[in-house]
C-alpha cells in the first residue's frame, strides 16, 4: 500500500468512526480477537485439547485464568483457539454468502429472464427459516467445520441475493451504465467493472452483519448438537458442553458467553457505523439489526 493510499484509508476510517466511541471500541475489540486468533499458539499456556482428569473443573486462578472444563482442559487456551474458529466461521460464511448470493443477485438483476427464475428459487429458499434450513442441511451432511460454514453461508446467501438484486437494479438504470453500454463494453465488463465497484461498500456492510449473525447461528447449531464437531474448540461448543455446569462451574458459561456477545456486539456496531456512511440509496436495503 502506498503511503498516500494508507493516509486516505485512515481518513475514511476516521470519518466513519468519528464521534462513535462505542463503535470504535468495538473495532478495537475485533482487532484484539484477530490478533488472538493469529497468534493463538504463542499466547496459550496449555494445549487446548490436553485432557487432565486431575485438574478437572478447576476454578479460575493463576494457573488457569478461565478455569478448566470437565475434561480438565484449559478454558483460556480453548477460548483463544475459539477466536480462530469464530473468524473461520465468520469469514467462511461471508465468503460463501457473498459469492453465491452476490453473484445470483447481480446476474438476476442484469439478465432479467434468467433472473426471474433464479429469484424465484431464492424466494423459495427464503421461506425456510434460517435455523431450520441449517438444521436439516446439517443432518444431511456430516458435522465438520467446512459443512457448518457452507450451510450458514448458503442460508445467508438468500438474503444477500435479494439485496444485491435490488441494488443492481437501481444501478442498472443509471446514466453511467448506459454510457458503458454505448461504448461497447461486454456484459462481464459492465457487471464487474462498472456495477460491482459501486456495490463494494454496501457489500462490506452486509458482510459485517453476516459475520455477526453467523456466530449466533453457529452457536445455536452447536447447542442443538448439529454444528461443528464437538472436539473443535469453538465458543459455541464450549457453551453447549458446559450448559449443565451453570451453577457448578459458572466460569464455563460466563467466559465463552461473554466472548460471543462482545464479538457479535462489536461486529454489529461496526456494521451499523459502516451502514451510516454508505450511499443513502442503499441504506435501507440492508436490514442488519
Amino acid at each position: 500500500m502506498t503511503p498516500n493510499a494508507t493516509i486516505q484509508w485512515f481518513a475514511t476510517g476516521r470519518r466513519i468512526f468519528r464521534g462513535r466511541w462505542l463503535a470504535t471500541l468495538g473495532l478495537a475489540w475485533l482487532v484484539l480477537v484477530v490478533l488472538a486468533a493469529v497468534f493463538a499458539p504463542l499466547i496459550v499456556p496449555f494445549d487446548p485439547l490436553e485432557i487432565d482428569p486431575v485438574a478437572r473443573l478447576t476454578e479460575p486462578g493463576a494457573a488457569h485464568f478461565f478455569g478448566t472444563d470437565h475434561f480438565g482442559r484449559d478454558t483460556f487456551s480453548r477460548s483463544i483457539y475459539g477466536a480462530r474458529m469464530a473468524i473461520v466461521i465468520g469469514l467462511g460464511s461471508v465468503l460463501v454468502a457473498l459469492l453465491v448470493g452476490g453473484l445470483t443477485g447481480m446476474i438476476s438483476a442484469y439478465f432479467t429472464r434468467l433472473g426471474a427464475f433464479l429469484m424465484r428459487v431464492v424466494d423459495v429458499l427464503m421461506a425456510f427459516p434460517a435455523l431450520l434450513l441449517a438444521l436439516v442441511l446439517m443432518t444431511l451432511l456430516e458435522r465438520s467445520v467446512m459443512n457448518t460454514v457452507l450451510v450458514i453461508g448458503i442460508v445467508y446467501a438468500t438474503t444477500t441475493a435479494r439485496i444485491l438484486f435490488g441494488m443492481t437494479l437501481k444501478l442498472k438504470n443509471e446514466v453511467f451504465i448506459d454510457a458503458a453500454v454505448c461504448s461497447g463494453a461486454g456484459h462481464a465488463s459492465i457487471l464487474f467493472r462498472h456495477i460491482l465497484p459501486n456495490l463494494i461498500s454496501p457489500l462490506l456492510v452486509q458482510a459485517s452483519f453476516i459475520f455477526a449473525f453467523a456466530q449466533l447461528q453457529a452457536a445455536a447449531l452447536d447447542f442443538l448438537g448439529l454444528g461443528l464437531p464437538p472436539e473443535v474448540p469453538s465458543w459455541g461448543n464450549m457453551l453447549s458442553e458446559s450448559r449443565i455446569y451453570v451453577t457448578r462451574a459458572p466460569w464455563l458459561l460466563l467466559f465463552p458467553g461473554a466472548l460471543i456477545i462482545l464479538s457479535v456486539f462489536s461486529m454489529n456496531l461496526v456494521g451499523d457505523a459502516l451502514r451510516d456512511s454508505i450511499d443513502p440509496r442503499f441504506k435501507n436495503d440492508i436490514k442488519g439489526v
Binding site: A127, A130, L131, L216, A220
Partner: protein, 315 residues
Amino acid sequence: MLGYATRRLLALIPTLLAASLLVFLFVHLIPGDPAAVLLGDTATPEEVEALTREMGLNAPLYLQYLYWLGNVLQGDLGTSIFFGAPVLSVIADGAETSILLAVMTMVWIVILGVPIGVVSATRHGTWVDQVASGGAMLFASVPTFWLGLYLILIFSVSLGWLPSSGYPSISDDGGLANLRYLLLPSFTLAAPNAALIIRLVRASMLDVQREDHVRTARAKGLAPWKVATKHVFRNALIAVAAAFGFTFAALVSEAVVTETVFSLPGIGRLVVQSILRRDYPVIQGVILIIVVLYMVINLLVDLAYAWLDPRVSLK
C-alpha cells in the same frame, strides 16, 4: 387492491410446489433409518427391512413424493412413524404452544420496541438515543440459549417467581394462568428481535419528522411529544407490519432453540426431536406448514403494508 391480492395469491402456487419438492428431498436425504430407530437395540436386520417395507420407505423416491403430495393436497400429511398418530394431530398438539409463544413474543416486542423506538427518535442524537440503540443491539448479540439459561436461573431457581420450563395447556387446570409458563421463553425470544423494530420505528419516525405537514405542525408551536403521539401510531404500525414478516422467520428459527431450553411442547422442539428420531413425515409436515405460513404471512404483510401506506404502488 383485490386484483393485486389475487395475482399475488396465484404466484404462490409454483413457489409452494417447488418448496414442497425441496422439503421432501431434504428430509429423505438425511442418513439414518426410522425403522431401525423405532425397533431399538435388539432388532435383527430382517425385522428392520420388513418394517421399512411396511412403512413404504422402499419405493422409488419420486413415487414416494407424488404419493405424499397427493395426500397433502387432500389435507393428509401422513402418519408419524414415532407416535403412530396422524402428523396433523401431532402438529396440532404443538400448535397451541407455538402460536401463543409467537403472540406473546410479538407483544413483548411491541411493548418494548415501539416505546424505545419513539423515545430514541424524539431524543434523536442524545445519549438516550445512543443508550437505547446500543442496548437493543447488545440484546441482539446474545445467543438465545445463553440468555434463556440465565433467565431460568434468576427468575425460576433463585427468585422462584416464574416456572422454569414446560407448558400445560390453557385448557388444562390453571387456565389462563398457565400463560405464565410462557413469560420467560417469550421474553427470551423477543429480546434479540426487538432491536429490528426499534430501528424501524426510529427510522420511520425520523422520516416523518422531516415531512412537510409535521414541520408545519412544529412551526405552529406544537410540542414535539404531541407531534410524536399524533404520528407515531400510524408509523409504528407500518414499521411493525413490515417487520413482522421478517421477524416471523427469525422467531420460528429461534423458537427451535428456545423451546428446547425451556422444554416447551411446541413445534420447534418437535422438529428437533423428529430429526433425531428420523420421523420423516413429521419433519416434512412441520417444515411444509412453516413454509406455507411464512409465505402467507408475507403476503398478508405486503397487503397490510399497501393498505396502511398509500405510497406503495400496487403494481
